[in-house]
């Protein structure tokens, strides 16, 4: 077809078939997308709930139930469904006793943000577990923050006591060079994945410094508010 012929044909074509085709297909698309959205929504919500519950029981040993709270400047209050903000989860064991508190932490890693959940045990005033929720760290190097047994062992009892003023941690959580961990508030880095390891330490420190002083006065309230 030559250029002249194309131009000739275009001037003759009525726009209505185009409107009809695009409009009709857009409506069909809308219908299909809404249909699938409606069908999958409860399943997606259930998956997300299960993922959160699984993560909570990983970071709070023994937790079988949980309640979500929002941390505000004036204290704690139960979180409404779908609420955002500083959400913490109080985990309770099978007897209904408070087993720990799970909170979120995030920091810039090597590739992108690393999002994690950690569990604070008010009895030992330490972090009892950490789970990476989302990351895009280098496979085989940075992603070992999730799998490396020695690194995961850092979070069995990571000291997170508050100082006398109760407004900050007594010892900031820091990541130290591989093999040089001396104190319970230090995280032993993975050799070859220092940036990712440091990001975990930075995230936990920032989150704990900010949230724990606000939560500490309400630990007893949490103990009593069984799910």
């Amino acid at each position: 077809m030559t250029g002249h012929e194309i131009r000739h044909q275009q001037t003759r074509t009525s726009p209505w078939p185009m409107f009809a085709a695009l409009g009709g297909i857009a409506m069909l698309s809308g219908f299909l997308v809404v249909l699938v959205y409606q069908v999958t929504r409860p399943m997606i919500a259930r998956n997300q709930r299960q993922a959160i519950m699984a993560a909570i029981s990983r970071v709070i040993p023994g937790a079988v139930r949980n309640r979500a709270f929002v941390v505000t400047d004036s204290g704690l209050r139960p979180a409404k469904k779908g609420e955002t903000g500083d959400i913490i989860y109080a985990g309770y064991d099978k007897d209904g006793k408070l087993a720990g508190i799970a909170a979120r932490a995030a920091a810039q890693g090597y590739a992108d943000m690393i999002y994690m959940l950690y569990g604070y045990d008010p009895k030992c005033r330490c972090i009892r577990g950490m789970k990476v929720l989302k990351m895009t760290e280098t496979p085989g190097l940075g992603d070992r923050i999730k799998t490396d047994p020695a690194f995961v062992a850092n979070f069995e009892a990571l000291d997170a006591r508050l100082d006398e003023s109760g407004r900050k941690l007594a010892h900031p959580i820091v990541t130290v060079k591989h093999g040089s961990k001396r104190h319970p508030w230090e995280i032993d880095a993975i050799s070859g994945a220092t940036i990712s390891s440091r990001a975990v330490g930075k995230a936990l420190n920032a989150s704990a410094q900010r949230l724990l002083p606000k939560i500490a006065p309400y630990i007893d309230t949490l103990r009593e508010s069984k799910p």
Binding site: Q10, P17, L22, G24, Y37, I44, N47, Q48, P139, G140
Partner: protein, 215 residues
């Protein structure tokens, strides 16, 4: 039905080998390289792409007489995007872990050249049955190529297949294989092997033809 319009074995098998989307047409290399770092990721990506390929091809083939030429690309993209969104929700409903592993690449199926390429070159010109069979072949070819790449990279780079450890703790994983350069290295070796096999097969056919002529 004349042979030209009928569904033959080639309608399906072209996508597997002769016109394999990855190994011959070199289409869709972006998701091919990006999500082929493990067997499960590459298999899921292949299946998701196959589903979009078949369903968008079917709809386009059905509507091919109603779609004006001037707006065909826009129409194809809307149709493809619809099916990709459906896949996106479905994968979230099946497994959040898988969804997180595949990341943005599910949404990016919309701009995968294989799908738009098949819509333009095949679905818009052929009847429903033939389009679906061809799309199934192309999708299978894409999935096989992706899965081979993913399996090789996972075996060499992590010492496992589908997350199952293969070699025990003494195996030192070849980490570069799961990193982006590994994707390029393995894909180029696969292309080399593929072209080598094809060239040999071509020579054999020539030789046997030569023999039969001599006889």
């Amino acid at each position: 039905m004349s042979k030209k319009d009928g569904i033959t074995w080639e309608t399906f098998a072209d996508g597997l080998w002769r016109d394999n989307p990855v190994l011959v047409m070199l289409l869709g290399l972006c998701p091919t390289l990006a999500v082929s770092n493990s067997a499960i990721n590459s298999l899921s990506m292949g299946l998701a792409t196959t589903f979009v390929l078949i369903s968008s091809g079917a709809l386009i083939s059905l509507l091919r007489r109603f779609i004006p030429r001037q707006v065909r690309i826009a129409t194809y993209i809307v149709i493809i995007a619809t099916f990709v969104t459906m896949v996106d929700y479905t994968i979230q409903a099946i497994s959040l872990d898988l969804y997180n592993a595949l990341g943005a690449f599910i949404q990016l199926i919309v701009v995968n050249c294989i799908i738009l390429g098949r819509a333009e070159a095949y679905a818009s010109k052929n009847p429903l049955g033939k389009t679906v069979v061809n799309a199934l072949g192309m999708g299978t070819g894409f999935t096989l190529a992706l899965f081979t790449l993913g399996a090789i990279r996972e075996i060499l780079g992590a010492g496992s297949l589908f997350g199952v450890d293969l070699f025990g703790p003494s195996f030192e994983p070849w980490v570069v294989m799961i990193l982006p350069p590994g994707g390029f290295i393995v894909l180029s070796l696969m292309l080399l092997a593929f072209n080598f096999i094809n060239a040999r097969a071509g020579r054999k056919i020539e030789q046997s033809e030569g023999c039969s002529h001599a006889a």
